[in-house]
Symmetry: none
Subunit: 404 residues, 2 copies
């Protein structure tokens, strides 16, 4: 008999200490009686999600934590976003992460069109099915101002520059081929035409008229980035003989999970933001247990508070997770692992390369008397992200002995 | 001048905590005044013998601890067993780990023929020299019901299935080629014929008649597994410029040591079980010091108690080692390193992928105020098995500076 594990990733969990939190990090300052209970009888320590000092993106961090070397399996953001949006990709496709933005006189006013999702699904739908030369454009909304664009047709390449300048007050970049090939030139040409056609369609869209009538910025420009070809990899089941399920809100996390072959659940109310339905996600994770050995449960908001520089919000959200999620995990899983995919220090408002706290609780665990925190005198685990899955599979007795 | 080190491996040392041991592990519960003394002035920490979570076999663990990546240097159990049995292998040989077992009506009754070694050396000797086609069978007893079988002849392969089904009440498996080659088919054919011939010889053996007259199960069937071709590697001396000796009971440990080019001593009374002569092994280790820089001293019984689920026995045996072995090591070596090759938690009765405690004492050591234990607030060493030899060579001042 084997056991069941849940891997709870609190996105961007790691942080620094703040005077206004009494010299503590948000995790240290948070009142977390359930996490404290787990620390008392579990193993604690630190994880560098990729390698010491390396600043992970959300995509590369999750690849690494799932046991896939991102230097080998990272093919550009578009691939994972498209998979996470539920698109079935084909061999020749090139996929992009997309934003709808607001431009005025050809200058970008807001890269996220006010970050308001109103009418966004319909606006993306208006772009779906555009054809340019022999290439069809697939467009799909994911969350807020975000979506996915896939170019489908012969002779395309991912060796092109991004059109998103990542700032305002400037025009959209002209897409350039990044290698001397017919495929790269063709793809750049189509992308530039698409920027133009999309702007035309969005400008005259009645959905944008409705947005304006609601006092919202028009989403009148398409920004795409992270061109990626379709790729596959050995599935996590073939690698480990363990069945994995994914409960997440954000498309990217679902996409990376799908890429490695996890069973990705669609959970109504799992929005991947601060207002996500934690209860629905917990219930989905418990239900997913039936058909899997390890459930990957992703909670995003800790990272968002980090990006916003809101250490008090981060602390309170950690307390909410401790109250609403942890007890259910302890009751329903034999092994519970809690960690982050990277640090997002509130003072930095961006990801950092610092290690994240790690907690392994349940069957086959020693009590190391450590704490789940950025400071921990009794820590016994010092690992890298790529080691985490083996740590879990050892605890739930799925891993086979290597040698005799 | 350089110093002398001993590397004491307590097999399967790592464990979990037990209520009946006052919430302590066998190592924590054991009264070990000499190990405690070493901890007080030495460096302590943890080692993952292969990598975090990976469950080591005894063979892969020792390769790793000797500094050889098992993913590169593990060629199947048979090779190391044969070397450990003192056989000189040739290029074309295929070697196997062997058991003599008891069968009745073609079904396996006991895979170890009652685990009684009586007449076992003679029974293995009866199988030695069998010829099948152009292949000669070399058979040699090692310990209890265990031995080694080597097939010597042209055109053989290790790409064949094991005949040992690893359970009772079933027939011996039919050996199958695992690749589409003449060599694999030939080897499988010879193995199947060998199973048949061995059974015939063992059935009519007067040694088995004697076993029966002593009330023992007849050892009337040969079980072989872990087919391995002959391989060599760069010797540990060429790699490190240090001279290594091995004092061990079990054939496997001697075999891995011989594979990497250690000087392997034959120690009468070193049986590799719970009744091993610890005093004889200590004396052999001290004597081996004359011609070596590092002595590898292997003690098996901690692992056997783990496999038996006997945490009290494990605790007592650790106390025995502390009493009978540690003081002699401290008196006779400049550097003493104590660790395990893996954890064998009594509650699991099998190897696990959890880290093992590590203690480095003597010359060139800091006192980190840690303890030699599975929980250790002051640990300063967090390493993998493949790093251990360099740790030792640094302390005894043999390692050369890398760079200037």
């Amino acid at each position: 008999m084997t056991y069941k594990a849940v891997l709870l990733i609190l996105d961007g969990l790691g942080d620094f200490q703040y005077k206004k939190l009494g010299g503590k990090t948000p995790l240290e300052a948070a009142k977390t009686k359930n996490l404290d209970l787990m620390s008392k009888s579990g193993e604690t320590g630190f994880m560098f999600p990729i390698a010491p000092g390396i600043i992970p993106g959300s995509d590369t961090a999750h690849l690494s934590i799932f046991g896939y070397d991102p230097h080998k399996y990272y093919f550009g953001r578009g691939l994972y976003e498209a998979l996470g949006a539920g698109l079935e990709l084909q061999e020749q496709d090139v996929a992009f992460r997309a934003n709808l933005a607001t431009i005025e006189n050809n200058l970008i006013v807001d890269r996220r069109a006010g970050r308001k999702s109103d009418f966004m699904p319909s606006l993306f739908e208006e772009l779906n099915g555009i054809t340019i030369e022999d290439v069809t454009v697939i467009a799909k909304h994911t969350s807020e101002h975000r979506g996915v664009v896939v170019l489908r047709g012969p002779g395309l390449s991912d060796k092109i520059s991004d059109v998103d300048p990542h700032k305002t007050g400037v025009p959209i970049n002209y897409c350039q081929p990044l290698e001397d090939s017919e495929e790269a030139r063709k793809t750049a040409r189509i992308v530039n035409q698409l920027m133009h056609t999309a702007n035309e369609i969005l400008e005259r869209s009645k959905n944008n008229a409705l947005r304006k009538s609601h006092g919202l910025l028009p989403a009148n420009a398409l920004l795409i980035r992270g061109a990626a070809r379709y790729h596959t990899c050995e599935s996590i089941f073939d690698k480990t003989s363990a069945r994995f399920s994914c409960v997440a809100g954000g498309a990217l996390y679902k996409g990376v999970a799908k890429f490695v072959g996890m069973n990705v659940l669609e959970v109504p109310g799992a929005t991947g933001d601060k207002f996500t339905n934690l209860k629905a996600k917990l219930e989905a994770a418990i239900k997913a247990k039936e058909n899997s050995d390890v459930v990957f449960l992703h909670i995003k908001a800790t990272d968002s508070f980090g990006h916003d520089g809101d250490f008090l919000g981060k602390k309170r959200f950690i307390e909410k997770v401790d109250r609403e999620v942890i007890p259910g995990l302890m009751r329903n899983f034999d092994v519970v692992v809690v960690t982050g995919d990277h640090s997002t220090p509130c003072v930095r408002k961006e990801h950092s390369g610092d290690q994240v706290p790690l907690l392994v609780w349940g069957k086959n665990c020693r009590a190391d008397k450590g704490v789940f925190s950025e400071t921990n005198p009794n820590a016994t685990l010092f690992i890298r992200g790529q080691d985490l899955i083996n740590i879990i599979l050892n605890k739930i007795e799925i891993l086979k002995k290597y040698g005799e």
